[in-house]
Symmetry: C2
Subunit: 179 residues, 2 copies
DNA sequence: GCGGATAATCTACTCACTAGACTATCCACA
DNA sequence: TGTGGATAGTCTAGTGAGTAGATTATCCGC
């Protein structure tokens, strides 16, 4: 507990564990750490994107709700919550705010009077399109260092990973609602 | 406010805003939304990665602190906090826990007795290497759908975006500490 | 050696999130 | 057709994570 790693004193040189095989292929460097990159990129995106959707009640999550609700058939609150991995309580007050602004309405489902269908209004579609336009600029700024082909490639790869990750989460989800 | 978008009723077909030019190039679809992909991927990674570093005090952040402290010259707590975009108060109790486990020590900086240098111990290096090995498996699982070349490509692109985003944040940061 | 700045710590507060209770409704089955 | 268990949505109360601000010790320019 008192013993200081010799490597820690070895300033300029990348330190290594002494008695143990290091993960030889991966360099001991934050800049090449996938988790770190994800954290930084997500954080940077969140900062700029939050500004882009600040006009929407609920901010980024309000945007997601509108996006989910506007594409595909009308769905219940719970269905949206599951799709977006949002807690159903969160969904309730998120929809409260979006409905208060007139961006969507809750319509009783004729086939199941317990459920409410979430329907985006004209105003909601309009607000969503404006947000998407601003978001596009924020994304462009985030990816400014990549040339167009690289940007497309990054998007495609990310979307593929997201799609399978999302599917896997929902397969093993006959039980609990996360977040 | 009562008016429901006609598009919202139009089930199978991707709805469009009525009176307004849509962002023609971007499809109105969550699956091709960069923010959504980032959210899903980050979330999936966080879930699996948190398990990989559960043995470390502070979890993912403890891991980041060790990674940052072990590579490069010894630094003060504040320097580490800035590098990792962590609040300095968080850094204090994070280091408390890591030090209590004997993974690092706080050494008074001989050149500035206000500051403490963070030094990773042998035990800390060992724990870090074990965590990295488990993390490697978690990452492989997350990226399992991509072939090796695509995995490398995604990592490279993400790291490039992260690097510039991180730099930009620190350029305009003569003022406040975030998170 | 005086005064403003800085590293680290500690305290107290705020706010986001969620578990769980509750109501209305559904559906399977007798 | 009525009964019991499950489900959609809402509401409330409690918890915990994060941070601003005060505090102490030290630095450094003048």
């Amino acid at each position: 507990m008192r013993t200081i790693s010799a490597a820690a004193y070895d300033h300029g040189v990348t330190p290594r564990a002494s008695g143990r095989k290091p993960p030889a292929d991966e360099p001991l460097d934050l800049d090449s750490d996938l988790g770190w990159a994800l954290r930084v990129v997500s954080g940077a995106f969140r900062r700029t994107a939050t500004g882009s959707v600040a006009a929407l009640p609920g901010g980024p999550r309000g945007y997601l709700v509108l996006m989910a609700a506007v594409s595909g058939p009308p769905r219940s609150q719970l269905a949206l919550a599951q799709q977006l991995t949002l807690n159903k309580t969160v969904m309730t007050y998120l929809l409260d705010d979006l409905e208060a602004e007139g961006l969507l309405t809750r319509q009783p489902d004729p086939a199941d009077r317990r459920a409410r269908q979430v329907l985006v209004t004209e105003k909601g579609t309009h607000a969503l399109n404006e947000a998407r336009e601003r978001l596009g600029k924020a994304e462009a700024q985030l990816l400014a260092d990549l040339d167009p082909a690289e940007q497309r490639h990054l998007r495609t790869l990310l979307e593929r990973v997201a799609r399978t990750a999302h599917r896997e989460e929902h397969e093993s989800e006959d039980c609990r609602l996360p977040e």
